[in-house]
Amino acid sequence: MRAAVVTFPGSNCDRDLAVAFETAGFEVHRVWHRDTNLPDGLDVIGLPGGFSFGDYLRCGAIAANAPICREVKAFAERGGHVLGICNGFQVLLETGLLPGALMRNANLHFVCKPVGLRVENNQSPYTSGYGGCAEITIPIAHHDGNFQADAETIARLDGDGRVAFRYIDNPNGSAGDIAGVLSANRRVLGMMPHPERAIDAMHGGTDGLAMFTALTETLVGA
């Protein structure tokens, strides 16, 4: 199985994300934002956390228009798996692959701490390793994680089972406590919490590991 991790100028979780994919058995290819081709035989693309292009203009907006993102978008539209974490989630929203927007945290603070999440949908390639309504602890570290969309979009995400995770104690003002959103085909996941920072006991928790191993099992079984 083959994963690609994209690095933008200002990405800072790219290596951690690569290690998480490797831990789950992936061969990882690192891809630069100016690249115009993805590796052959790719199973999943990871868009990492960080501050791509210094968060200039809007978080993720410039990265979403980088040359590699045209390929990422085409890959997702062909049914490929794409995982966007934190800044990667912001990029997915700016490309239009997922609906909504991430705004400045309602309390205006940068929030960096482990938070409790409820797994709302455990029928996706990323969440099938968790029990129904499981509660897990994953770190967050962001200033702009306040998920907002119009009421109709929020209702549609709820009704279609596209909310992957909700915060148990909302840290940023997100509508409906939404922490992670799936695409209609469940293959694109964007989330603010950092599962790649919770895959080793040395991290202080391992609740993120099941996301990567579930993806491996889904792809092997496919």
């Binding site: 203009l57 809007r58 929203l93 927007a101 705004m103 907002q148």
Partner: protein, 79 residues
């Protein structure tokens, strides 16, 4: 010619930064500020000399990059 793009959060979208500015103005003793909305201004120097063509081009820039139309509205002044 020059273009000035003003990007604001859409009406109804909560603006946490505007609220913080409003609160700070209140604590400085400025009374009677009912609402504060914070946005951004982007100035562009364009090679285009036809105002209509310039406006059309800047509109495309707004839709594609300068504004996130999920949460933001924009206005364009050409001079």
């Amino acid at each position: 010619m020059k273009a000035k793009v003003t990007v604001m959060l859409k009406t109804g979208v909560l603006d946490p930064q505007g609220e913080a500015v409003k609160s700070a103005l209140g604590s400085l003793g400025f009374g009677g500020v009912d609402a504060v909305r914070q946005g951004k201004v982007i100035e562009l120097d364009l090679a285009e000399t036809d105002p209509a063509a310039a406006e059309a081009s800047v509109k495309e820039m707004c839709e594609k990059l300068l504004a996130n139309t999920v949460i933001e509205s924009y206005s364009i002044e050409i001079a």
